[in-house]
């Protein structure tokens, strides 16, 4: 579904990604894991065209995203849950969902998808009139995921969904991610919390200083010495 080949990108003279290639097939859940500063967020920003590539290519369902503006990416079926949720704090939960359905095609199905999100996260129905800025961290994450689902995406990009949340909340976030995958969404998730994320995804890539260092199924990576020593502290 999504393919990156030799992607290089950065900010000004600072290069963050060096020839990254990876692939996400339809129905798969894939993680990009790695330490802080490895370029994980930059990778998602490059896919969403929030930053330009200096080399390489991103294709979605075989079509290049080269000439697609950032605000047109979502129409190709890619929705992103940004780092730190980034809800609109002074809009209500329901208005945040409305923003997720801004595309004309999504507006027509707003009612139906809202019910779907509320069924998935009943807490959001209770809080639908509440300002998003007043939600707890875990609730904000539900709202952010719900907002991304409102466009009816084929591919969901999740940027550090566990960042800044208490360990017990991280558990429930990972459960949420698992449910999203089970719902049939194709998911690409970027995460520092390697132990947790490898429990919920099919495959993962290890990103270090802007380069893919290794890849494999979750079981393979959990068993590899490299990951166990450097990241799991075993």
């Amino acid at each position: 579904m999504l393919a990156l080949t030799g992607v290089c990108a950065g900010y000004g003279s600072f290069q963050a990604l060096f020839g990254v290639s990876l692939e996400v097939k339809a129905g798969e859940s894939v993680a990009v894991i790695g330490p802080n500063g490895a370029g994980k967020t930059t990778l998602l920003r490059a896919i969403s065209k929030l930053i330009d590539l200096s080399a390489g290519e991103v294709t979605m369902e075989g079509r290049s995203l080269k000439r697609v503006a950032a605000h047109e990416v979502i129409a190709r079926g890619i929705a992103q849950v940004p780092e730190n949720r980034r809800l609109f704090p002074r809009l209500s939960v329901e208005e945040n969902l409305k923003m997720g359905a801004f595309l004309p095609a999504a507006r027509a199905r707003f009612g139906e998808r809202r019910e779907y999100v509320y069924a998935l996260f009943p807490r959001m129905r209770e809080r639908r009139a509440q300002l998003a800025g007043t939600l707890s961290g875990g609730e904000q994450q539900m709202c952010a995921i719900g907002r991304a689902l409102m466009s009816g995406p084929k591919l969901l990009l999740l940027d550090e969904p566990s960042a800044g949340l208490a360990p017990v909340v991280v558990q429930s976030i990972m459960e949420m991610v698992k449910r999203i995958c089970a719902e049939g969404y194709t998911v690409l998730i970027v995460e520092q919390n390697i132990r947790q994320v490898l429990k919920v995804v099919d495959r993962a890539y290890l990103l270090e200083t802007g380069r893919i260092k290794s890849s494999g199924t979750s079981a393979e990576l959990l068993a590899s010495d490299e990951i166990r020593k450097a990241y799991l502290g075993i």
Binding site: S48, A69, M99
Partner: protein
């Protein structure tokens, strides 16, 4: 001494009528600032252009009044969009002081352009509407119209901002501009649409003012500062605060003017403004 002063009541009611108009005046400026974070110092001059547009179409081109007013609103809306596209957009990343100076330059440009086109003589529509008498009290009919239309304009803007996708996006963009593309929203387009909407509100204000006042190139100076002060008093960018401040300010002007002399109304209103700025620099309803 009378217990019930009918003329004081008249002054209070006139203050309410004035408050509606001031509320509409401040709304456009607050909308622009709240969303784009730029103050249009030339806002009152856009209203002046709208007044001349209605005058030119109605008096010089002999259009009926209502189509002339509709065209006036459209012209100022277009002007707002153009102002954003060609003047504000290039300085969006610049220092606030530079943004102020640029729109200040537009103020003098518009004044000079109006002087060239229409001269410095006072113009008016020649529309005379009789005052409305209720008991011993008398109210200007254009003011009553202005009040009703202004409130309708404020209500329509409120519904647009809260009930539509476009309006929700306008509110959202002021809270987090950087992630708007992830929602499928082109921020540049929302800015232009917001500017055109601010222009349309200026155009509507122009239609209401032109019924009450003579037009001249410097007329913007007679209500530009007060519009700006109302926005600051309410909390710059806070539309609800602007409404509250407009009605407070109007009461000071109207009742103060009645109790003392008409000029004293403004003195008291501005003294109140200064006092509030010491007490709440962020405005009555402003966020820190």
């Amino acid at each position: 001494m009378e217990i019930f002063d009918v003329f004081l009541l008249e002054a209070v009611l006139n203050g309410i009528l004035l408050g509606g108009l001031l509320a509409l005046l401040s709304l456009g400026l607050n909308l622009i600032f709240g969303v784009i974070d730029v103050v249009w110092i030339c806002y009152a001059e856009m209203i002046m252009i709208g007044m001349y547009a209605v005058y030119a179409l109605h008096v010089q081109q002999h259009w009926p009044l209502l189509p002339a007013m509709a065209a006036g609103i459209a012209i100022v809306a277009l002007l707002g969009g153009l102002l954003h596209q060609f003047v504000i957009r290039p300085v969006l990343a610049a220092e606030p002081i530079n943004q102020l100076l640029v729109t200040g330059g537009v103020l003098f440009f518009l004044q000079a352009a109006a002087t060239l086109a229409f001269g410095i003589e006072f113009k008016n529509l020649g529309v005379k509407l009789p005052p409305v008498a209720i008991g011993e009290m008398s109210f200007s009919f254009p003011r009553i119209i202005a009040f009703a239309v202004a409130l309708a304009g404020v209500a329509a803007t409120y519904l647009l901002l809260t009930r539509t996708y476009l309006g929700t996006a306008i509110r959202a963009i002021s809270q987090d501009r950087a992630i708007m593309p992830l929602m499928g929203v082109n921020p540049g387009r929302i800015f232009v649409v917001t500017s055109a909407l601010g222009g349309a509100l200026a155009g509507l204000s122009a239609c209401l003012l032109v019924l009450q006042y003579d037009i001249h190139p410097a007329i913007g100076l007679s209500f530009g500062p007060i519009t700006f002060l109302i926005c600051v008093l309410g909390g710059l960018g806070n539309m609800l605060g602007g409404l509250v401040a407009a009605f407070i300010f109007a009461q000071f002007i109207s009742v103060g003017g009645y109790l003392f002399a008409i000029e004293w109304g403004y003195v008291i209103a501005f003294a109140f403004f200064i006092a509030v700025m010491f007490w709440r620099p962020q405005g009555i309803l402003g966020r820190k």
